[in-house]
């Protein structure tokens, strides 16, 4: 997918420039020179400058995350998340290992501990699959879990802040509040949608024995 998008961006970009030069848009500074100077040479330089510029904030954040990891902060967040989770997953027994793994995964995601979150998430899927009565078909619990996961509940978007700082923002962290608002809305919409859709007959029938996709 990314291969096609990348190719299309380059292809369309260069063809558009060639086209506008051909029809004589600006003879003083042809679009193709602009592509060469700003599009290619300058962009490649900026990419490295930005990457180097974000090392400081990334180091700070990864350092803090190491403290969070070693102090078991995930378990504190997990305690806050648990009551909500048990309500969102009526099909999963509260004591089942799947519940524990899901809670830990979502807590790690909230802290932005991506490296810790993925193995926990895969463990959660494995445990959820043990409750699955129809192999190869997603259960309601799996769908809900993944929608919470993909609507991103991260508290501090550290990478975004680092990129903004590197690009010379006067206030790189000013997007934290808006991000929390936007991500909360998308999570609520995601959970509501997954609940509504799970009641549709098309999707219900796929859970019954002997009915294919």
């Amino acid at each position: 997918m990314l291969n096609y998008i990348w190719l299309a961006l380059l292809l369309i970009g260069i063809l558009t420039a060639a086209g506008s030069d051909f029809f004589g848009a600006d003879p003083g500074y042809p679009a193709l020179s602009r592509v060469t100077n700003e599009g290619v040479v300058e962009s490649a330089r900026v990419a490295v400058t930005l990457a180097i510029g974000l090392i400081g904030i990334m180091s700070l954040w990864l350092g803090l995350m190491k403290i969070a990891e070693q102090s078991g902060l995930i378990r504190v967040i997990a305690r806050w998340v648990r009551p909500v989770m048990t309500r969102l997953f009526p099909d999963v027994p509260a004591e089942h290992p799947a519940m524990g793994a899901m809670i830990m995964n979502i807590s790690a995601n909230m802290l932005g501990l991506a490296n810790a979150a993925t193995p926990l998430g895969l463990k959660a899927m494995e445990e959820l699959n043990k409750l699955n009565r129809k192999a190869g078909t997603a259960t309601d619990a799996m769908c809900t879990f993944l929608v919470i996961n993909t609507s991103n509940v991260q508290i501090i978007p550290a990478t975004v802040i680092a990129i903004r700082a590197s690009a010379g923002s006067a206030s790189p962290a000013e997007i934290i509040g808006p991000v929390i608002v936007a991500t909360t809305i998308s999570t609520i919409v995601g959970i509501a949608t997954v609940r509504l859709l799970s009641r549709l007959r098309v999707y219900r029938r796929q859970l019954e024995e002997g009915v294919g996709a």
């Binding site: 558009t16 100077n37 990419a47 180091s59 996961n149 206030s171 991000v179 608002v181 949608t193 859709l197």
Partner: protein, 180 residues
């Protein structure tokens, strides 16, 4: 609505000092050697910076070519009836499209957008909020369902996409409300 905007602004101001203090103090209470742990974790920062360079070069050059050649303006003009309607600058479209597809790709798009328009412009802020509030939906679905050999994903994809669209619209709304 201004009271709400103030509250959101306050959240941005206090979030980092609070979390910094909380993590360090909690670590100390749990007898973690906070300084040593910090330094150990911070060492990875350099690797992150170096590791993302190829992705940034690939994506920033591609978007840079697309923009410098005039194709971005053309696309913006083409889609302006739709994007104007929801108050979304067309320049943030690449971010909205890339976010669910690829994390490193979206990081490249964000970098290009904040460089071209400025991190503190409306466009730069909107792209930042989209990046922060989104997730690589298709990647997560593929990896997680793939790990347990689930091929009939039922309503997960539809709900994931709807949540993504809600996130984009929410980003547009909140950024316009605060800085518009």
């Amino acid at each position: 609505m201004t009271a709400f905007a103030d509250l959101v602004g306050l959240l941005s101001v206090i979030a980092i000092p609070c979390i910094l203090l909380f993590i360090v103090v909690y670590g100390a209470i749990r007898k973690v050697k906070v300084y040593e742990a910090f330094v150990e974790g911070a060492k990875e920062g350099f690797d992150v910076g170096v590791r993302i360079i190829p992705y940034l070069v690939a994506m920033i050059v591609a978007i840079g070519v697309f923009r410098a050649g005039g194709a971005m303006d053309f696309l913006a003009m083409l889609l302006s009836p739709v994007t104007d309607l929801i108050g979304m600058p067309a320049e943030t479209l690449p971010m909205a499209i890339m976010r669910p597809l690829s994390g490193s790709g979206a990081l490249g798009v964000l970098s290009e957008t904040v460089t071209a328009h400025g991190a503190d412009s409306l466009i730069g802020r909107m792209a930042s909020v989209m990046m922060g509030s989104g997730e690589t939906t298709f990647y997560v679905l593929a990896v997680y369902f793939g790990s347990v050999a689930v091929s009939r994903t039922r309503h997960a994809v539809a709900a994931g996409i709807i949540a993504d669209i809600a996130g984009i619209l929410a980003s547009v709304w909140i950024v316009n409300m605060i800085w518009g």
